[in-house]
Amino acid sequence: MSDRRRRIALLALLGVALAGAPAPSRAQTVDAAPPVAAAADPYAGLTSPHFEAIAAAVGRLGTEGAPQAQAVLRALSAHHLFVAEDGGLYVREGESWTDARTGAPVTSAPAGVRAVRENNRVRGALAQAMAGQALLAGDAAARRDAAARLADHPDPAMLPVVDRALATPHEAGLEAPLRRARAAMLLSPGAPATGEQAQSAAVRVLRDAGGLDARAVLARFAADETAPAEARQAAQSAIVTIDRRIRLWSLAQQVFYGLSLGSVLLLAAMGLAITFGVMGIINMAHGELVMLGAYTTYLTQKTLMAVAPGLAAFSLPLAVPAAFLVCGAAGMLIERGLIRFLYGRPLETLLATWGLSLVLQQAVRSLFGPTNVAVATPGWLAGSFQLGGLTVTLDRFAIMLFAGAVMGAVFLVLRRTALGLQMRAVTQNRRMAALMGIRTARVDALTFGLGSGVAGLAGVAVSQIDNVSPNLGQGYIIDSFLVVVFGGVGNLWGTLAAAMTLGVGGKALEPLVGAVSGKILLLVLVILFIQRHPRGMFPLRGRGVES
């Protein structure tokens, strides 16, 4: 950028800043402005009792660059614009009044004032006019919003505004919405005659932009008998293109939702894949460990709020190790205190851990109350971003990444550490492992602790998308077991595949048969699948008579 152009840009910015200053301060500076000639009074319409005249006047003000027009529009949107008996327009700022036409202060309150009339039509015109004003004189964000609004509600009357904005230097991000707005205006009824060439170009712009608003403009244009046939045909085919793209994106959106649901299932089931899949323990209190993880997140957040409110945004990264340790410790306690007496009796383990889950639920209910506790989503996880036509919510996206990371970590522990080797050795042949000098009891406790800790990690994630209440765990236990069994016991990849299959499958069925029926259908399908393949999708094959 040359020096000269940079200076122009600076000047433009300065102008923007000045124009954006609040109205009252300017009212004093333009004290001495000459009164506007009555014949060309652009404000006359505002005094009219008819909504249409008011809306028309507002629309006209929107294309004016004059600072006073802006001030009037702002006053109107704040309901501070009044009409006096004599036809004068006044702006009320607290107790003081100014003449709307000139901006000059008025010493005595005007007589017989009534507010300028408003209805939805006036408000629509006002929003439009404010957008036009913002486009000419707002800051960067305001300009982007204004351009998007003008593109979504194309009004050919605003064409000069858009052209002026395009002609002045502007940031790169503004170009596309402005072009889109211009194209939409050119194709809207009432647009100035521009010829087929320009219209076809506009159709192309809208086709590439896509979206429902562009589609509506194109559909209206294609139905317009007076428009040139060729451009109309182009519009028709552009609609087909846009429709196809919208379908594809909505499919992609469903897949994203499905993967996101799958990640939650994966997180919830991964702990089970260790305790049930690797150790063969049916831990019905697994859901409650997830619940404990969510409550640990809550406590971490609360503590941090009390101790160091400035660090509250980092409570989640802190909650991750905290939940792992709390739930891991709880898991080891459960293993040493309860489960080790029941090895080799899987069905009794199931009953005992179910009892434990009831106790844990009731304990949390006694401590924290039966209602939901509020776990805040930190600012850096709120909101969403657009990926093409895909709306990616940050919290769901973060959970997908988190699930991947946890899965990777579990894999590393099982495959690359001495502890993982010992775990596999103990589960494959306990006696042999013991004879090799492995302390099997310790390995049992650690393995169960690992699975429980991973359940706690799931709790951290779940606290961001679900209600944190004592019943939280019950919602996950059946799904988690189904995921592990469906994927094939003792196989982490199977767990991953099953979680994603169930997640995407569930979301794919949802629009077809409804959310609940989709879930029922999925359950029935999984039950039938397990009947055909009792060992899941990826069974570990053995040569024993029972395997």
Binding site: G355, I520, L528
Partner: protein, 373 residues
């Protein structure tokens, strides 16, 4: 070992059930001023316990004798209950809130024009009786046939039975299914012309429940007592070996499974008659698991233990939730843990242990190596 002396306790327990039920029923017919009078509430409660005892008996049959830990038996119980509920709802006739002689209230509320086809004949008591048995029986037969044929067993079977009842719960919660959605079926008026709110009717229902329960106990005792019972134990403890000996464990399991579902279904029908409401909550997986703990507390594989466990645990629940509601879940949870850790044979086993009459205890569940599934 199970021999010709086996399960004497069943006859004693059945007799006790009958005597207590008869006493309560008689007591409820006395005028309220009489010191021996029993309130209708207690009669209804006793009826509920007996219905639950049927469910426990059903669970004991499959868990205690063929080793299928079902976590979904409440599904059959609730289906039986719904079948009975349909009949009772139709009995209301034009006395409902909306006064529609053909449609139950909730259907009028949903502005349905006619009965769905599957309600056909539900106003006839014989059809209702057939439905009570046929629907859960058919579901159990289909599910069992699929599962046992492909040798789904152990924990896997437990988990899919749980998924089954969970899926049914979700389905029955939907209004569109035509069973009253969330509210289920309730507001019943009478059965076979007898007013359900009359003490006499309630006393009669309690006696009937006791008779049915006693009958079911004796029938299951006959089923598991003889040669067939030994085959069941063999299937439970060494399925592969039994198969190698030429038996068909899948068929044996299927037979017992369906019989058990039928017992549960009759229990559900009795439950609805006396409690007066059936809703999708009865399908909740937690209910099924609770019914397993009744059996565990009483004594798995003893039949009488199931009945004793169901009555005692539910009595405890009634008392606990009235006195110390917040402690009930602690109590129930502790019961699960303590029973599995310290009372593997349940109360009946404990009693026999004290009496040194071990001959009546079914052999302890031992798993030969390689039979872990």
């Amino acid at each position: 070992m199970t021999g010709e002396f086996a399960f004497r306790g069943v006859v004693r327990t059945a007799a006790a059930v009958l005597v207590v039920a008869a006493l309560l029923a008689l007591g409820s017919l006395l005028p309220a001023s009489n010191p021996l009078s029993v309130s209708p509430f207690v009669v209804t409660l006793a009826g509920k316990y007996l219905a639950y005892a049927m469910l426990a008996l059903a669970v004991d049959l499959v868990w205690g004798f063929v080793g299928i830990l079902t976590l979904g038996h409440a599904a059959f119980f609730a289906l039986g209950g719904y079948a009975m509920g349909m009949y009772l709802v139709r009995e209301i006739g034009a006395r409902g809130v909306y006064g529609n002689p053909d449609l139950p209230d909730f259907m009028v509320f949903l502005s349905w024009k006619s009965l769905p086809w599957y309600w056909w004949g539900s106003d006839h008591v014989l059809v209702a009786a057939v439905l009570v048995l046929a629907v859960p029986g058919a579901l159990a037969a289909l599910f069992g046939w699929l599962a046992f044929r492909s040798r789904v067993g152990g924990v896997y079977l437990s988990i899919i039975t749980q998924a089954l009842t969970y899926a049914l719960m979700l389905a029955f919660f939907q209004n569109g299914l035509g069973f009253g959605g969330n509210n289920g079926l309730t507001d019943f008026k009478d059965v076979l012309g007898f007013d359900l709110h009359q003490p006499g009717t309630r006393a009669g229902l309690l006696i009937i429940s006791a008779l049915v329960l006693a009958g079911a106990m004796l029938a299951t005792r006959a089923l598991v007592g003889g040669r067939f019972g030994r085959l069941l134990i063999a299937v439970r403890d060494a399925q592969s070996r039994t198969r190698f000996l030429g038996y068909r464990p899948d068929q044996v399991k299927l037979l017992v499974w369906v019989a058990s579902a039928l017992i549960a279904a009759v229990g559900g029908a009795l439950y609805v008659l006396q409690v007066g409401i059936i809703n999708p909550g009865e399908f909740a997986p937690a209910n099924s698991i609770e019914s397993v703990i009744w059996v565990a507390v009483g004594g798995r594989g003893t039949l009488s233990g199931a009945v004793i466990g169901a009555v005692l645990v539910n009595l405890g629940k009634t008392l606990f939730t009235a006195w110390l509601p917040e402690l009930w879940l602690y109590g129930l949870g502790a019961l699960f843990i303590a029973t599995t850790l310290f009372l593997p044979q349940g109360l009946v086993g404990l009693g026999r242990h004290i009496n040194r009459r071990r001959d009546e205890v079914t052999p302890e569940v031992t798993r030969p190596a390689g039979d872990a599934a």
